[in-house]
């Protein structure tokens, strides 16, 4: 009895410790962003939305936020069809070199981001598209595509292949089978992967650093540039913007797929 209670006590204190450690930086930064003082610190000196206001008024940040949203959306829009079809093909079609193709598609994972960044900078430079915004979206899609493929693959693997036969037996030609049975069945994986792609692109820094200049700078790069100058509480406010975006993504995921499924990593 005593030892059981002792065990529970130890377990609970560890859980609380972990939760606090995980949440503390976030809580600190949220608190700091509401300061009315001039320097970033916790606890904040007085409460105000001053730095959110300042952030909003700052042309550079707003434009960078807009560009990041554009780049992330582009990355996600490319990843959805490419990643879904690739995952389906890898899991379903008995292809020659399936294994090789799988490894090839996961290659971006094994290459350090610095290397990807430099090589894509050179490639886009040769193609004379460096300095435009859309190549950044393409690049972010490339480096993160394995996440999309993984998310969809796990949904495809959970799918009974007999479902497609059943649909055909019901009179559905192959394209209709795909649209009415296969796609809805793997939809949770597609949604999970898409949100993951969006968030990853929204946060991506290193590759973006190589591919952007002052006209195309995205939010993470902009933040980095600001830190190099002077650290003001508007940085804390930007961080809160990030936290809000991440929370929004989780909320969307919960509404569309159900968090239980996501946590079971279906």
């Amino acid at each position: 009895m005593r030892s059981a209670r002792g065990k529970a006590w130890v377990l609970w204190s560890m859980v609380i410790l972990v939760l606090v450690t995980l949440a503390l930086p976030t809580l600190v930064i949220i608190g700091a962003s509401f300061t009315s003082g001039d320097i970033i610190r916790f606890p904040p000196e007085g409460l105000s939305l001053r730095w959110y206001r300042a952030l909003w008024d700052l042309g550079g940040f707003r434009a960078a936020l807009g560009r990041t949203a554009y780049v992330s959306a582009l990355c996600t829009l490319i990843a959805i069809p490419v990643g879904t079809l690739a995952a389906l093909a890898l899991a379903r079609r008995r292809m020659r070199f399936a294994r090789t193709i799988q490894v090839y598609l996961l290659l971006p994972f094994t290459i350090p981001l610095v290397v990807s960044g430099i090589s894509m900078m050179m490639l886009f430079g040769e193609a004379r598209v460096l300095g435009q915004l859309w190549p950044v979206g393409v690049a972010l899609c490339l480096i993160n595509l394995p996440f999309m493929i993984w998310a969809v693959s796990s949904a495809v693997n959970a799918l009974d292949p007999e479902l497609e036969n059943a649909a055909m037996n019901c009179g559905a030609p192959p394209v209709t089978v795909f649209l009415t049975v296969t796609l809805p069945a793997v939809m949770p994986g597609v949604i999970t992967g898409a949100l993951l792609m969006f968030i990853l692109a929204f946060n991506e820094f290193l590759v973006s650093l190589f591919l952007t200049d002052s006209r195309t700078v995205t939010l993470p790069v902009q933040i980095y540039n600001s830190i190099r100058n002077v650290i003001t509480p508007d940085l804390a406010a930007v961080s809160v913007v990030y936290i809000v975006v991440a929370l929004a993504a989780i909320w969307v995921l919960d509404r569309l797929v159900g968090l239980e499924i996501f946590l079971k990593s279906k």
Partner: protein, 376 residues
């Protein structure tokens, strides 16, 4: 009239092995046919070729007299109940049943009424708005039947859909399948490894083994006149033992087993004296003869080696010294009304001559490599 389904020397090879070898069979309109065999005998491969998910390596499949090799599965008028049911998880029961109607371009005004009618047929009235995961195994089974039938297919295929159910539900669903099939008169092919299911449900049974059709006949004939050793031992509990033909007129002849001569039913056409044969005796045809009771045609003494209580019957394993110490299985139904025998007891066994099956000896060569027709 042309048969509903005709298999014309259908063979399916996977690499070097043949899953189905030169299967030929005919299925008349409205018939309920069961393909029975152990797992890996090729029965499911055969079914999938009829459904169109697989193609024969050689031979033809005809439906309504038309060769259908070039017809893709979604243009065949075939409903199928899958082994794992394969209900669409993101659709309700009603949407599942409506799916084939939409795909086959039924008049949209007619669909809700049809869905309702078929849900009623499978006794699921009022369950239409449930999703598959909200239903019990038996209910899901019924949705799968309704989906396979709602578009009035020419042919219904059942791919062991009952194998996952527990025994009670399975026996209930067997009768349910039969009721629905007879109500609609739909031609049906069922695949199973369960001999009871095959005998209970079917008009005709096709017994398969090692890719080959061994026998195609009515349930009673498959049970009473098995055409070879495999069929005899696969259906029912049969003791198989070697013997030799002594005298061989048409009909009842004599077989030498161990030290004795036994009267037995010889296959049509007769066998030359001296031919080595396999004999088969079903446990339910052998009786323990009580002293003073009327004697069957053949009687022989033995020693009880084991007895197993199975509720509705006792199973004895009896060693018979004159038959070369052969151990025979014997069922004794309703043992409460007469004497039970302990292990070690001497008993008199008896059977009728026509119940002793005799088949020409099958060499391994015959059973596995012979290329023409079942061993005869």
């Amino acid at each position: 009239m042309t048969p509903m389904v005709e298999l014309d020397n259908v063979t399916r090879r996977f690499g070097d092995t043949a899953a189905v070898r030169e299967a030929s069979a005919r299925l008349e309109r409205g018939e309920f046919l069961t393909i029975l065999g152990p797992s890996g005998c090729g029965k499911t491969t055969l079914l999938r070729m009829i459904a169109g998910f697989d193609r024969p390596s050689a031979g033809r499949i005809l439906i309504n007299g038309q060769a259908i090799d070039a017809v893709p599965p979604f243009r065949r008028s075939i409903g199928m109940v899958f082994q794992r049911l394969a209900l669409f998880p993101h659709m309700t029961a009603a949407e599942n049943v409506a799916y084939p109607l939409k795909m086959r371009r039924f008049d949209p005004a007619e669909i809700p009424e049809r869905v309702e009618r078929y849900l009623e047929l499978v006794r699921l009235k009022g369950f239409g708005s449930r999703r598959p995961h909200e239903m019990s195994g038996g209910q899901q089974q019924r949705v799968a039947i309704a989906r396979a039938l709602s578009f009035s297919p020419d042919l219904l295929l059942l791919d062991e859909p009952l194998s996952a159910l527990d025994r009670k539900l399975r026996e209930e669903m067997q009768l349910e399948f039969r009721r629905i099939q007879q109500e609609l008169g739909v031609t049906t092919i069922n695949v199973t490894h369960d001999q009871r299911e095959a005998l209970v449900m079917s008009d005709r049974v096709v017994v398969m083994d090692a890719g080959r059709i061994q026998q195609a006949d009515t349930p009673a004939a498959v049970y009473r006149q098995p055409s070879n050793r495999f069929v005899a031992s696969f259906i029912g509990m049969t003791t198989v033992f070697p013997g030799m033909v002594a005298e061989a007129p048409e009909g009842i002849g004599e077989i030498i087993v161990g030290d004795v001569r036994l009267p037995a039913r010889l296959p049509a056409g007769g066998l030359a004296p001296g031919t080595a044969v396999d004999c088969g005796l079903r446990a339910e045809q052998v009786r323990v003869v009580a002293p003073g009771a009327p004697r069957p045609e053949t009687t022989i003494g033995g020693l009880v080696e084991r007895r197993i209580f199975e509720g509705d019957r006792l199973v004895y394993e009896v060693r018979v010294p004159p038959l070369g110490n052969l151990t025979l299985m014997v069922f004794d139904h309703d043992p409460a009304t007469h004497a039970e025998h302990e292990v070690g007891a001497r008993v008199l066994l008896g059977w009728n001559a026509r119940d002793l099956f005799v088949f020409p000896k099958e060499t391994t060569e015959n059973a596995t490599r012979q290329e023409t027709g079942p061993a005869s």
